[in-house]
Structures are given as structure tokens and as C-alpha cells.
């Protein structure tokens, strides 16, 4: 079985254990295994854009250096980890001054900008292939109307993330189709849920999350899927009658590896 270096992130160890577990189980079912990298540290949740923020990026660079040393793809599942690590990777590649500052801190773990950071979704699309995913589906989700919720972190800034068309993405919709379900496209799928501002200003986050869910509901979605624990929290906290689940949970369910409770 093909082994892929995996960066889980702190939330997947605590509040978002489902996101992690189902990702691993689904990977096994699809013929690859997620190998947690050694001694990883929290990515910090958000990317600090300032050029002189060095220390806050070191944990991501360490993960990148590990993948580089082992000549592996660095796989992420959480949108936030993916965004932070990918943006850090981009800064290391394109800002030589920043890179030399960072590498000065990292004695044996310097990074030279050659690792390949991939989100789990990208791995399914580009390495496994959605066609192959579809073939492994045992519990087709036929008839279920699912809205993909991208939020901001997977897509923006597009010049760095390069995952999909940032204004009209299809990667999650294609996965939904592969699982036999019906994707529902709604206009707020790439609008922000309110993010970490929720901690201080719950009202602000509520306003944004409600618009997202209303938009999905109006378009006819029964379920909304996300790759981000914070999106899930914000949406669920303000949820109406639309269920919010991790995309990995849906995947595991379709692949028949979710466990017995729903089967």
C-alpha cells in the first residue's frame, strides 16, 4: 500500500477526530495509507501574512522539510492546515530573504522549497482519480442532495492555492458525484463563515454562517460538506435544518468503512 506523509493538525486530535479517522479509513479503502509525520506541531491555524513573522511559520516549515527530506507528498486534510502550509511553502519558494531567515532558525531541518503540498481532495482527484473512487463506492449516496462548502481557506489566495477555479470550483462537487450523490451548487459556497472572529464576535460569525446555510438550503441542499473544523463549528452553531458533515465522513460512508452505526 502506498504510504503518504500526513500532517493531521491539532484540531483533528481533539474536536475534529472524525475528520481524521474517516480520512485514514477511507485512504486505506482506496489503497493508500496516511503516515503521520514525526513530531509535528500545530500550524497555528492562520497564515500570518507579514514578511517579518518568522517564528509563527516554523512549525509549517518543519513539516515541509520532513516531506522534502523523505521526498514525499505532504498531505493535509484540514483546510486551515492546508492553507497555512501551502502559503508558507510559497513564501519559502519565492521570498529568498524570508527563506534564509527561517532556515537560520532551523539547524537540521532547513527547507529548500521542493516539497509538494497536497490537500486530501487534490490527492483524490489527481493521484487516485475520482473515477477510481467511484468504483470503490459500496454504499452509493444516490438521491442525497449535497452542497459543497469551500469557504475561503481551500481556494484563496488562488495564486498560491491553485486548487481550482476560486470563483466557480468543482472539486468537491466532482467528489460528491463520484459518491453517487447529487451536488447542489449555491452562490455562497466560497464565502467566509466568519472564521476565528467567532471567538470574539459571535454575532458577526453568525451573520455570515446563516447566509451560507440559507443559500445552501434555498438551492435545495440536505447536507453541507466541509473540510474545515472551524467552518463546521460556525455553521453548526448557527445551523438551521441543514446537516453539516466532514467530506471524509461522507467518503467513508460511501466506501463502507464508516463503522456500523449508520449501516
Amino acid at each position: 500500500m502506498k504510504k503518504v506523509a500526513y500532517f493531521p493538525g491539532c484540531t483533528l486530535r481533539t474536536k475534529a477526530k472524525d475528520l481524521d479517522k474517516y480520512a485514514k479509513d477511507s485512504a486505506n479503502a482506496l489503497g493508500f495509507s496516511l503516515e503521520e509525520i514525526e513530531n509535528w506541531q500545530c500550524c497555528g491555524g492562520v497564515f500570518t501574512t507579514s514578511k517579518d513573522e518568522i517564528a509563527t511559520k516554523l512549525s509549517s516549515v518543519r513539516a515541509l522539510a520532513y516531506a522534502e527530506k523523505n521526498n514525499q507528498i505532504l498531505l493535509t486534510v484540514c483546510s486551515a492546515c492546508h492553507n497555512v502550509i501551502k502559503q508558507t511553502d510559497n513564501a519559502m519558494r519565492n521570498d529568498s530573504e524570508f527563506a534564509s531567515h527561517v532556515n537560520n532558525y532551523l539547524k537540521d531541518e532547513t527547507y529548500h522549497g521542493t516539497a509538494r503540498v497536497m490537500h486530501y481532495l487534490e490527492y483524490l482527484r489527481d493521484e487516485v482519480g475520482f473515477d477510481n473512487v467511484a468504483q470503490k463506492v459500496v454504499n452509493s449516496l444516490k438521491g442525497v442532495k449535497i452542497g459543497a462548502y469551500y469557504g475561503c481557506l481551500l481556494l484563496r489566495p488562488n495564486s498560491v492555492m491553485q486548487m481550482d477555479d476560486p470563483e466557480n470550483p468543482r472539486i468537491i462537487e466532482d467528489l460528491i458525484k463520484a459518491l453517487g450523490a447529487e451536488p447542489v451548487i449555491y452562490p455562497y459556497r466560497n464565502e467566509c463563515c466568519g472564521g476565528y472572529v467567532a471567538l470574539e464576535d459571535a454575532a458577526s460569525a453568525k451573520k455570515k454562517s446563516v447566509s451560507v446555510l440559507e443559500s445552501a438550503k434555498q438551492a435545495g441542499a440536505d447536507i453541507v460538506v466541509t473540510a474545515c473544523p472551524l467552518c463546521k463549528y460556525n455553521l453548526e452553531k448557527n445551523a438551521s435544518d441543514v446537516k453539516v458533515v466532514y467530506f471524509t465522513e461522507l467518503l467513508a460512508q460511501a466506501l463502507g468503512v464508516k463503522g456500523d452505526e449508520n449501516e
Binding site: D165, E167, P187, S215
Partner: protein, 664 residues
């Protein structure tokens, strides 16, 4: 041995202020070959020129050195002077002792010393000069216009009017271009078809004009006055000379699901079609990508209904070769793709359209017969949002938009907004703008009328995102003057898409060896003083292929290009540059090194018979230069391994003599 005269100019005090002109003329008197040397206040004046003429006669001069200003200034003047006195003009050399000596040095001693050396170098060169005669080439009195939009039409009509034959090559089945798709034209609001179609008819009826429609340029060879062009006349599977344009085939064709490009894909046409009622030539064309007969061999209905018998499924592309004296590029523009701007939801909603699509929606001959109806449900829109600068003035990333201003959008948006309010006063119209740019005769007045008389809401700000919600479009925008974020529930959103040169322009430019800028607009020979000529001799520019412009500007430029073409075609012969490459037949070994580096394809090879020392003859392959094609760059002279190739006027021996004189 040459008999050289040296003439040192003071240029008033311009030279004499920093150079001791007497010392220069004295010093040069003793150079080899010099038999006369003098100086004068203004050599270029009539009196100065007379001194030169007189000296040529008196001293039987065979060569002349003028120590004066830059040759770029007065070389031509002194060559004419020499010619008037019976001397070959190419026996004149200029020593540039003004721009490159007196003006850049302050000290009299150093200036004088340098002027003497520059003079010596010129004398050394003239000693090796030979009389040169420029070649002449005839001018083919026929012009080619590439592109049959309003630019190409106007250029062709003007050239034809002057009595020269013109061919228009148009890749679409009809001429007319983008203007044929427009509804009304700003700022006078006359209908585009009413002013364009009579011109199209003029083109069809003009005896001096041939139209090659549904045709493309395949190959361009030759040079100014003598271009040789291959034109691919694509198979339209209809005999052009027999088809009467009755249109029965286009009604009976069973293949009804072909997106109609003339209506921007907003309705369908048949596989056999005439783009629009006033098409020129009014001849049907079969689209091979959709025709069932051509694809499967089963159908043939159009052939059965054609009473004229014009349908020919076996037609093949035809290559036409023709010679031209001048070529005009009039390749036009297209709106850019909206794929990279989906924050405006163009790909997510049928009711988000481009301005050119809006033109078709309001055009009486369009898919809605001129009624403004939403593409999604055919309902009358009550709130319309226009977004300006979509992809124009966009410097964020190259693959997204264009850095330049597309120039026409402010005016056509004002037109669209005004016409909408005029015809449907119950409609609220919003225009989001960054700047309103209306330089042009009666343009700003036009825009103000849209605001003041027609009540169009102009809002300074930009639309950030369009959310398709149900059958409405939620437009989120900024109103910068009010410092507000607006949410407008619209029925229709119209995007003023940036314009870009037609995609075919680049390959045509390559064939013409005409240069382009980074945006693929053709570059002009001089941005101010030669705006309708390309830097390549004999190639002229008309319309938007050179840069964004509206119809009045396009037509002026088209006529200007025609004037340049007429000026060229009016000549019987073109005088070439005599400073061209010349191979030494005895030294050439036919290796082809020169041929490979020649940017103009001026070098070919011939087999020539040579008498050998032992009285036998041998056939050897040697290079020959087409003097009319050679531009005299000299690339071949360096590539030649045997030193056989030389450049007249800049011979190796001459340049080495200059080097020696300078390094002495």
C-alpha cells in the same frame, strides 16, 4: 588611388566652439588620397554645398569626407550635393564631429584631437569606397487587406476609389465584422446596419475589389512592392458563383442545433447557414462540424432543395496565389473570455451577459427580435446592472485580464444604459464605474445625457460579487462616494468585457514579419509620426489590430492606411538600398551558412560553371543575393566561413581601415 576632398564644418560655434576646425582641415590635408581640404561656417548651407560642388569639379575629386553633424542629420544632403556635381553619392562619408565630439567634450585640445582621428577614419574608409547604384524593383499595383470588418472595408474602398485593385481576405463567411453585430452606434445612435451594410454593398459592387470570404492567409513571401501571398479558400461546400442566397437550404436543413455565433450563441442556426440577412457575399456555407451529410454521408437535403444546384459536398480547400504591392492588416478584436472572472457568475447564470451579447439582445435582427428579454426565462428585466472594466485595467495577473484600458466600454455602456431607459422607462439601470472616460467629439455630452436626461444611476465603485439566487442576481457592490456596500437585486447583469486582438493576428504578424507588442497588438513604425505603418516596409495597419479604438477612430485610421497604400502603389518603381550583401563567387564554397542566418530569405544558391586552371570546367554551387530582398544587416558576412560574403558600403576592408585609423 582616390582623389579625396575634406570639408570641415564649423556648424557656427556648435563645432568650432570646441574643435579647432582649421587644425582639423590642416591635419587631414596630409592623409593618403586627400588632395583638397577646407573648412566653412555652414557646410549644409547653399554656399557650403557650392564649395563642395566647385571642389569636385576643380580638383576632379573621386571621394568626399564631410566632418560635420551626425550622418543621420545631413548625410542625404551631402549625397545629393555630390550627385549634383556628377559624383556617385555613395562616395561621400561623414565624420560625426558634432554629436559625437564637440557636443560631448568641453576641452578644445581633446576635441580637436578626436575630430582629427574621426576624420582620418572617414578618409581611410573613403579610400576603399566604390560607387554604388541602388537596385530598383517594380511595384505590383494591387493591395491585400486582411480582415473584412469596418476597418478593412474602409481601407479597401479608399484604395479601390483611387483606381487600384484590392483583395479582401476574411476568415468568416461574410464581411462586416463586429460592427455588423452592433445595434446602434454612439454618440449619434444611428443604427450600425444602416451605415455599415451600404458600405458592404459598395465593396461587393466595386469592380476593383475582390472578396475572398471564408478564407485565410496561408503564406506570405516577398517584400514591399512584390509580396507573394497564398490564400486558403476554405471549402464552403457551396458553389459561390451559383448560389443565389435564396436561403431555402438554411430553412430545410434538419440539423437545427448549431450555436449561432453571430448571435453570440444565444440562439441556434442550421448546419448550412447564411450568417445574417445582409451578408456579403450572400452565399450559404455548410458547417462541416455539424453537417450530417459531411459527417456520415447520409442526408443531402440541402442539395435536394437547392434549385440552382449550388451544393457541392466534394468541394476542397483551394489555394490561391496572388502578388501584391502592399498589405494592410485589419484583423480586429474580440471580447476576452469571462472564464477567469466568475465572481460575476458569467458561467453560473444565463442572465449574466457580456456587452456584445447585450447588443444582440437589443438588435431587431437578434435572437429576441430586438426585445430586451432575459436569456434564462424570456422575461423583461426590471433592474439591470452594468459593470465596467471587466478585465480591462487589470494588472493583478497576466492570464486573467488586460493591463490596458479597452477605450470603447465607457461609451457603449452609456449607450446601452440610455437606450434601455429610453425604450423601457420602467427599468432601473445601474452602471458601476471606476472612471468614466469619454474623450471624443460629443462623447462626454452623451454620457451626461444618460445621467441627466435618462436617469441612469452611475455609481463610482465596483461590483465585488454576483450571487445567482433563485431567478434573481444579488449584486454586491461598493458605492465609494457614499462609503457603502450595496446589495442590488438585479434581473440582468451586463459585463463590459475587455477587448483583445483577434487570435489569428499573431500568426499573421509572423508571416508578415511585422512586430507586435506584449498584448499582441501590431506595433506601428512610430507611435506618433507613423501610426498606420508597421516597421516592415509595405505592411500597413488599420483598426483595432493596432490598439483599442471606436468606429470613428477606426475609420479614420483605415483611410489613413489607404492613403499610405495609394502613395506606394502610385510609384512604378521602388529604389532599394544599395548597401547589400555581395558574395565573391570565387571564394564561395556553397556551404549554406549565410542562407541559414539571413532573416529575409534573400540568399539562394545557383550552380555556375567555372573554368578551372587546367582548362577544364567545373560546376560549383555558389550563393547569390536578391538585392531587392536583402536589407543589408550583414549577418551573413560574419557567418561566412570563407570570407566570401561582404557588405557593400560596409565592407570588411573598410571597417578594418577605420579600426586601424582609430587605433593608430
Amino acid at each position: 588611388m582616390q582623389r579625396i576632398g575634406v570639408f570641415v564644418c564649423w556648424c557656427g560655434s556648435n563645432i568650432a566652439g570646441t574643435v579647432d576646425v582649421q587644425a582639423v582641415s590642416d591635419a587631414l590635408k596630409n592623409e593618403p588620397g586627400v588632395v583638397f581640404s577646407t573648412n566653412y561656417q555652414y557646410m549644409c548651407s547653399q554656399a557650403g554645398q557650392d564649395i563642395i560642388k566647385q571642389a569636385i569639379a576643380e580638383h576632379k575629386l573621386t571621394g568626399i569626407v564631410v566632418c560635420s553633424c551626425s550622418p543621420r542629420m545631413h548625410e542625404a544632403t551631402f549625397r545629393k550635393t555630390a550627385a549634383a556635381a556628377g559624383l556617385n553619392p555613395y562616395m561621400v562619408e561623414i565624420a560625426n564631429i558634432r554629436e559625437q565630439c564637440s557636443w560631448v567634450h568641453k576641452d578644445m585640445a581633446t576635441g580637436t584631437e578626436k575630430a582629427i582621428i574621426l576624420g582620418k577614419a572617414a578618409v581611410a574608409k573613403v579610400n576603399l569606397n566604390a560607387p554604388l547604384t541602388p537596385g530598383e524593383s517594380p511595384v505590383t499595383k494591387r493591395a491585400l487587406v486582411i480582415g473584412g470588418g469596418i476597418a478593412g472595408i474602409q481601407t479597401a474602398l479608399d484604395i479601390a476609389e483611387a483606381g487600384f485593385p484590392v483583395d479582401i481576405v476574411e476568415k468568416k463567411p461574410t464581411i462586416g465584422g463586429k460592427m455588423a453585430q452592433l445595434d446602434k452606434t454612439f454618440p449619434t445612435l444611428d443604427c450600425a446596419a444602416c451605415i455599415l451594410t451600404p458600405k458592404m454593398v459598395d465593396v461587393a459592387q466595386n469592380e476593383n475589389i475582390r472578396i475572398f470570404s471564408y478564407s485565410e492567409i496561408e503564406e506570405v513571401g516577398g517584400f514591399v512592392g512584390n509580396f507573394k501571398v497564398k490564400i486558403r479558400k476554405k471549402a464552403r461546400y457551396v458553389k459561390e458563383d451559383i448560389c443565389t442566397g435564396c436561403g431555402i437550404c438554411t430553412e430545410k436543413c434538419p440539423q437545427k442545433k448549431v450555436p449561432n455565433e453571430f448571435n453570440m450563441g444565444m440562439d441556434n442556426r442550421r448546419a448550412v447557414y447564411i450568417p445574417f440577412a445582409q451578408a456579403v457575399p450572400k452565399v450559404a456555407t455548410i458547417d462541416p462540424n455539424y453537417c450530417t451529410m459531411l459527417k456520415t454521408g447520409k442526408c443531402g437535403i440541402c442539395s435536394k432543395v437547392c434549385t440552382a444546384g449550388a451544393i457541392d459536398y466534394t468541394q476542397k480547400d483551394e489555394i490561391i496565389e496572388e502578388n501584391y504591392g502592399a498589405i494592410v492588416a485589419a484583423t480586429g478584436f474580440n471580447p476576452i473570455s469571462m472564464d477567469k472572472f466568475d465572481e460575476y457568475a458569467y458561467n453560473q447564470s444565463k442572465d449574466v451577459i457580456t456587452s456584445l451579447e447585450f447588443e444582440r439582445l437589443t438588435n431587431a435582427a437578434g435572437p429576441t427580435a430586438g426585445k430586451l428579454l432575459r436569456p434564462s426565462d424570456g422575461k423583461h428585466p426590471h433592474t439591470i446592472v452594468f459593470v465596467q472594466c471587466v478585465g480591462s485595467r487589470c494588472a493583478a495577473c497576466a492570464e486573467k485580464g488586460k493591463e490596458y484600458c479597452s477605450k470603447i466600454c465607457c461609451m457603449y455602456t452609456a449607450k446601452h444604459a440610455m437606450l434601455t431607459r429610453d425604450k423601457y422607462p420602467d427599468t432601473e439601470v445601474y452602471v458601476f464605474y471606476i472612471d468614466v472616460r469619454t474623450p471624443g467629439k460629443a462623447f462626454d455630452e452623451f454620457y451626461r445625457r444618460a445621467v441627466e436626461e435618462y436617469g441612469v444611476h452611475y455609481i463610482k465603485g465596483m461590483v465585488g460579487k454576483v450571487f445567482p439566487e433563485g431567478d434573481k442576481l444579488m449584486v454586491r457592490a461598493s458605492d465609494l462616494l457614499a462609503n457603502k456596500q450595496l446589495n442590488i437585486q438585479a434581473d440582468l447583469v451586463v459585463l463590459a468585457a475587455a477587448i483583445e486582438p483577434d487570435k489569428s493576428a499573431r500568426s499573421i504578424a509572423t508571416m508578415l514579419t511585422a512586430s507586435m507588442d506584449t498584448n499582441d497588438f501590431f506595433t506601428e513604425a512610430h507611435p506618433k509620426l507613423r501610426p498606420v505603418e508597421s516597421p516592415t516596409a509595405g505592411v500597413f495597419l488599420s483598426g483595432t489590430c493596432q490598439g483599442p479604438k471606436d468606429i470613428p477612430e477606426t475609420v479614420s485610421q483605415a483611410s489613413a492606411a489607404a492613403a499610405k497604400v495609394i502613395g506606394l502603389l502610385a510609384k512604378d518603381k521602388l529604389t532599394g538600398n544599395p548597401c547589400v550583401a555581395q558574395p565573391n563567387e570565387l571564394m564561395c564554397n556553397g556551404c549554406s551558412s549565410c542562407e541559414r542566418v539571413c532573416p529575409y530569405g534573400a540568399i539562394t544558391y545557383i550552380d555556375k560553371e567555372f573554368r578551372m586552371p587546367d582548362r577544364t570546367t567545373a560546376i560549383r554551387r555558389i550563393a547569390t543575393v536578391n538585392e531587392a530582398v536583402c536589407q543589408g544587416c550583414g549577418a551573413c558576412t560574419v557567418a561566412c566561413p570563407s570570407g566570401a560574403m561582404d557588405l557593400k558600403g560596409f565592407a570588411s576592408a573598410q571597417i578594418i581601415a577605420e579600426v586601424d585609423a582609430i587605433c593608430k
